[in-house]
């Protein structure tokens, strides 16, 4: 079967930015260890480690599976690696010397592996390259934006299916399964990725009625009941009833790139207070999007969202119940769903052209339900461009 590999040009652009940032930060090299970062900088997600020196040639050291890594990767030097112990030997052999300061992704590398690398690279200063890598990954290329858009198209198909299959009495998880099937049939990989420790990303945040008012461990306005204390988030075994707000936050993923999206449904008429609250989230979205452009500090968008919420009288419900409000109204998205930029308090850095983020104003009514809208946006020269094309109207079925 034909596989669409990432072009050499695309990968070289990424590596060039990495070299530049390493150099700026006073690093001599990075060793890229996490599967997602490795895919980003090499084009392959095989079991491997990528050495990127500021000066000199990249080396992709492959544990398994060599043939596939060679075929998929745009890196020229691809060599086998039998054990991590060999990493410095291979660097010395092919790069000529061991750098004195190396960056590694310490936010995801397990401590045990870190201690092992410290032993193997004794005398070398190992620092955290993640902030730098996440900064690079925040700016998407046209190739990446196109894949996020294609994930968004899958979302459109998924949401169009809801009115056809939604029936009173079906459980949230049952609906989740049906939508997952539709999405997978269209190429959704059904595996979302999140970087933060102990967090788990998944597609089936389907909350109906009171489950929309249930909080959980995740940093989100609502968590849902989930299937059990062992998976205490998202769709549950609760049957869906008429006149409840049904919030479907279904992330889709195409060739590794994710889009995040929320739409509202109801069996029959949705009571006016929920409808009004939903219209308020769309108004918030509209005004935040109108401000979105390269150069604006992220927290200004956050403040604008809050300003509109207050003006419309939703201070209590907005982004969670009092005392449990999320610290953001949007998050960067791409290969992971917790990327830069964060549209959040305290995030004063500016939006940049090429960034992509999901904006998700939501309202929570404890014990009653939740409503909200979420779309994924691209920051273009002229402002925000929506990448998730599903219709945004409340769908009463």
């Amino acid at each position: 079967m034909e596989q669409d590999y990432i072009s050499k040009e695309e990968i070289e652009g990424r590596l060039k930015r990495l070299r530049g940032e390493l150099n700026k930060g006073g690093w001599e090299a990075a060793i890229v260890v996490q599967n997602v970062d490795l895919f980003y900088f090499s084009g392959t997600m095989q079991n491997a480690v990528l050495f990127v020196p500021v000066e000199g040639e990249e080396i992709l050291m492959v544990r398994k599976y060599m043939e596939r890594a060679q075929r998929e990767s745009a890196v020229d030097r691809v060599i086998p690696l039998n054990s991590w112990k060999e990493i410095p030997l291979l660097i010395e052999e092919f790069h000529g010397s061991i750098p004195e300061r190396i960056g590694i992704e310490l936010d995801v590398l397990p401590a045990k592996a870190y201690l092992r690398l410290q032993e193997i690279f004794s005398g070398v200063e190992i620092g955290d390259s993640s902030p730098l890598i996440m900064g690079i990954r925040a700016i998407k290329s046209p190739y990446e934006v196109d894949l996020i858009k294609r994930a968004g198209e899958i979302g459109k198909i998924v949401y169009a299916e809801v009115p056809k299959v939604l029936k009173e009495g079906m459980t949230e998880i049952e609906l989740a399964g049906i939508l997952g099937e539709v999405a997978m049939r269209h190429g959704h990989q059904n595996y979302l990725r999140m970087r933060a420790f102990n967090y788990e990303a998944f597609s089936w945040h389907i909350l109906s009625g009171y489950t929309g008012g249930v909080l959980s461990y995740i940093d989100a306005p609502m968590g849902g009941v989930g299937l059990s204390p062992a998976f205490p988030v998202g769709a549950s075994l609760k049957p869906i009833r008429a006149h409840e707000p049904i919030l479907i936050d279904f992330g889709t993923c195409y060739r590794g790139y994710q889009s995040d999206e929320t739409r509202m449904f109801c069996l029959g008429k949705l009571p006016k207070r929920f409808k009004d609250a939903y219209l308020a989230t769309r108004q918030i979205e509209k005004e935040v999007v109108a401000l979105t452009r390269p150069g604006i500090p992220c927290h200004e968008l956050f403040q604008k969202g809050w300003e509109v919420a207050k003006r419309l009288g939703y201070e209590e419900c907005f982004m969670g119940p009092p005392d449990h409000k999320t610290r953001f109204i949007g998050h960067g998205i791409g290969l992971e769903i917790d990327e830069y930029p964060f549209i959040a308090q305290g995030h004063g850095y500016p939006l940049e052209e090429g960034m992509t983020f999901a904006l998700e104003p939501k309202m929570v009514f404890p014990a009653e339900g939740a409503v909200g809208i979420e779309n994924t946006y691209f920051v273009g020269e002229e402002g925000a461009e929506r990448l998730t094309p599903a219709p945004t109207e409340l769908m009463e079925v």
Copy 2:
């Protein structure tokens, strides 16, 4: 909706074993940080940290969400935690003193968080508690075995669906979506868990014809093509054809507990060489299972598997193509799919009563396909008990 929480008795049994092992290892306490371990030792998977001293009371320190952690957890002292900085202060306040040697799961805790804890606990020796925790988790209680069995029953429903839905020309991922929907409808959480860094567990290893002969980064006899280089494992966009071996390795998960299982299907007649190879894997399974009992060293089961494979003339195909054979024929399973025991070369420790493992003899024919059987077993006093009840016959549809 009613939630079935883990009983206090169950949790206390686990904590007692943890205290015993900590004591034996010369630790004064453990701080449990990983979501799965936390769930195992407290009953909740909320965002929290569990302090378990050898002597004294456990403390569950909760970041989010307090109410739910209190309700779900069997631990008595549940207190709020605003930031990791407070951990030693809270331990001092409620435990009375800071232990000098603390175990933490260093195989999963990110390096950055580890360095932060080292700073916060300056002067305290922090070691790796994971081997000890994984040893405890390897022995399942009747409660846990029952949940694995219930996951196995979902698997039976899934496999019974295959002949009803399998059609020539449907893609592997399409079939995967349909089976996922069936499983979720019956309570499958559709989120498998694996402990190893950079590994990703998922249910839809559906390989047909040549994709069964494709290797990938995972330590498995076959990887499959997957959906793209960004998810290079499992079901792909390849259409399923008649007379190909269709290997369905579909893990199911009920209330956090997983069972792992593989069955073989074919549209029309399966060519004799694949059929013979499948019968060989069942013979291997039969002879390994006959040896299974408490006390037998794991590698003896591994050797027995290889001995039968050779006797039947499958040395070349067994557990992967030459030079790429897996180092195991089975793996422990429970809350994670890479638990102890490993039925593997070099794993000389004995099986113990209460262990559960998936045994998966498989044969790979590069460029042609793969066949195999997999069942999850419980090690009882009298020997192996199968927890995955789906019929094991090749199903020609």
